[in-house]
Symmetry: D2
Subunit: 241 residues, 4 copies
């Protein structure tokens, strides 16, 4: 089982009626329930905690960091972002969700803008699996229907994923690369689109299963230590002429 820290902006659910109704204890607690039920060790952290709840001590204990941010990406301190990025390159898993497509840590790790097209009408989303043998969709059918969703449409400005696992269809006419795997440094990243503060997406069993799978997949491997600096190797491994 994996040691997971779930980070949530946690403003909507304290301030907005509709979000409060769907996630009365915050999205982080819904996600924590989902992952705890699968046996993972879960802690939570939020934007308004000191150091956003992501001290070096917390990150020391974190194998996979799940991230949900939305309207306050800019309030995340740059040194915490740098800390997260460094940890990912060192092997920590990272699972940015939904509106985290423009969060600072995801942007810093991708090098792209993360921009897209969006529309909030509660339309239907159908998530199609295109790489069925990938662990993040283990136990998932050909497609998962999400009855009401906020639309995210292409072009999604991200690097082509190392593995594209799912593509979403939207009732209003768009498609979206909704499940994207990346390796960066020693770390693994899974961006997963579904989820919204006013739709009960994180209560849906298939979505919870995918999150569990993602956490399993993204946990650190047994790798050589990553380098923070280019290494001068004075002696050749083999004799030179």
């Amino acid at each position: 089982m994996v040691s997971v820290t779930i980070w949530n902006e946690y403003r909507h659910e304290r301030e907005d009626g509709p979000a409060k109704d769907v996630y009365p204890d915050g999205i982080h607690h819904a996600l924590a329930d989902a992952l705890s039920a699968y046996g993972h060790t879960v802690r939570t952290a939020t934007l308004d905690d000191p150091e956003h709840g992501l001290t070096e001590a917390v990150l020391d204990e974190t194998e996979v960091l799940v991230w949900w941010g939305h309207l306050h990406h800019d309030e995340v301190a740059d040194d915490v972002v740098g800390r997260i990025k460094r940890r990912v390159l060192d092997g920590m898993g990272f699972v940015p969700l939904h509106s985290s497509h423009e969060s600072k840590p995801f942007a810093a790790l991708m090098g792209t803008s993360g921009t897209l097209r969006w529309r909030e009408t509660g339309e239907k989303e159908r998530v199609w699996v295109v790489e069925p043998s990938h662990p993040v969709v283990d136990g998932i059918d050909e497609s998962v229907e999400i009855p009401e969703a906020e639309m995210y449409g292409e072009r999604f400005d991200v690097p082509a994923p190392d593995t594209l696992v799912t593509i979403s269809w939207f009732e209003g006419g768009e498609v979206f690369r909704s499940g994207c795997c990346y390796r960066r440094g020693n770390g693994k990243i899974f961006y997963f689109r579904p989820g919204h503060e006013t739709f009960p997406v994180y209560h849906q069993p298939e979505v919870r299963r995918i999150l569990h799978n993602a956490v399993e997949w993204a946990q650190p491997a047994d790798t050589p230590p990553s380098r923070t600096e280019t290494e001068h190797v004075t002696d050749p491994l083999e004799p030179l002429e």
Copy 2:
């Protein structure tokens, strides 16, 4: 033909005897000669120019930016880095060379550390083509031998390239992914390893041919404009239920 700006740190060749001997007018002029001979329109810029020679006006005229930096990456101003990154996402080609593996613009576009192992012994490098149909190796044989090179060895901390075109062998026992293509936003990036301030690598015809190919490949395509902000699409393209 392509409108190219060649950027060079241009300190070694003014300060170090050996670098001055190999590139008396600076690496940028050697590169400019190479690309001009292929018919490209070339201008140059250096670290010590105002705004490092990369004003918005210069970038307006730049289809592909070639970059050679080494020991003074940190002196490149962050706003110029941001400007370059934005231009690449908007479609400008970018060709970081050799020690630019840790340059700020490349790091900002990759999201990784760019670290590697290195050794400076003048050992032999042999660049093997693994994707022969790619335009950047058009007209190149199975392998290119570089008689004296600085060694760069794996693990090279970059995202897996969208297309890995060449792998280098080094006499001292290492390998390196030496020709790496990426698409980021509307832009194309080709990292190419060979080249060093005290070895005449940029005088070698096969290297010049690859640089020409890279510039051709990386030039902007006719694309829709990139987004700097996520776009709110209020009306669905298709009727909702």
Copy 3:
């Protein structure tokens, strides 16, 4: 300009009223018109020609082979399939269209079944560009609408494309990786989904532009000759201890 051979099964358009109405001279002639208008040198070949019109002499003159097959894949002789495959590995471009997803040459080059889900209701398809800097979508907008199409849906059993360029949305609820680039041997392959014998898709300007782009992209590069046999290299390039 590229020397193109367009291969068509050419049964529907001789036998079925609706196909005859849309493509009175056969799909191959509609495609030939489209590519000739862009300046390419085009010849055609069909299933019922001797050797299916694909003699060694014809292939000697072919830089890119465009393929449209549907219900009679099995009638294509295996030795002609082997010949095509060999030519692609040697550098010939290959552009299988639409129902060619299960054609023998495409299957032989992919190693997968090419199976998918389909439905023929004349529903709307919208082709979204996800990799705008790729040459096959040069000059194409964010999306192309095809008013009436046969639906092809995931999971499409093909290898993950080397570059996924477009994803299609269908009115009835499916998505499809509709523009897929592959490199195999010295050759380049672009599978493009749109097109059907009873819908006028190949008369649509954006589709014609993409086909032109594909032919340009897929033309042979200047590469070392491909190997038909593993090569015994008796002498090392470098001295052994």
Copy 4:
């Protein structure tokens, strides 16, 4: 633990003195020892068994098929090859080793020739890990040294791997993409280069660890059933206009 079938051509070790010395019971038994020691359930099969030991009943019980063939690829019956390919697309893992680069099942799944350059001088190979977070190199250092090896050199005619995990350096001047992961259909494939009938490579602990990792990684996932035929979906999932 995984149910593994190890297939070996098993001619060298019965006929050639040097091979007999290194693998007295055959390469399959050395591999079986290695994988059994990690707890896997292992059976073996060889070329000269009826149906090459790969009956439908055996394959029913096989989660991952490890393959070692060399000089007698052509003696493998095409219907058995078809059976293996079908099983891989259905989810069975496949781990072709060393000289299996031109084996029929690997060629059928790749669609390429699998050709390369080779030399048998017992030179040194150093296997460099380029994707450290991948499960097949879990617990492996930056590089693995193989004291005596047969050289395989680029260009290796295979599709660009979905994930390139290792690159080998050879004393005589070549490089090779030596650890290549592919997803095909519901199945996972890991080609691993090291291993030879007269060098004790399969007795080496790091190589055994990688083989164990590969078997773990390649085991079937819980996926929807693969399609053997394109599926006609008469009713749309969503209402059409």
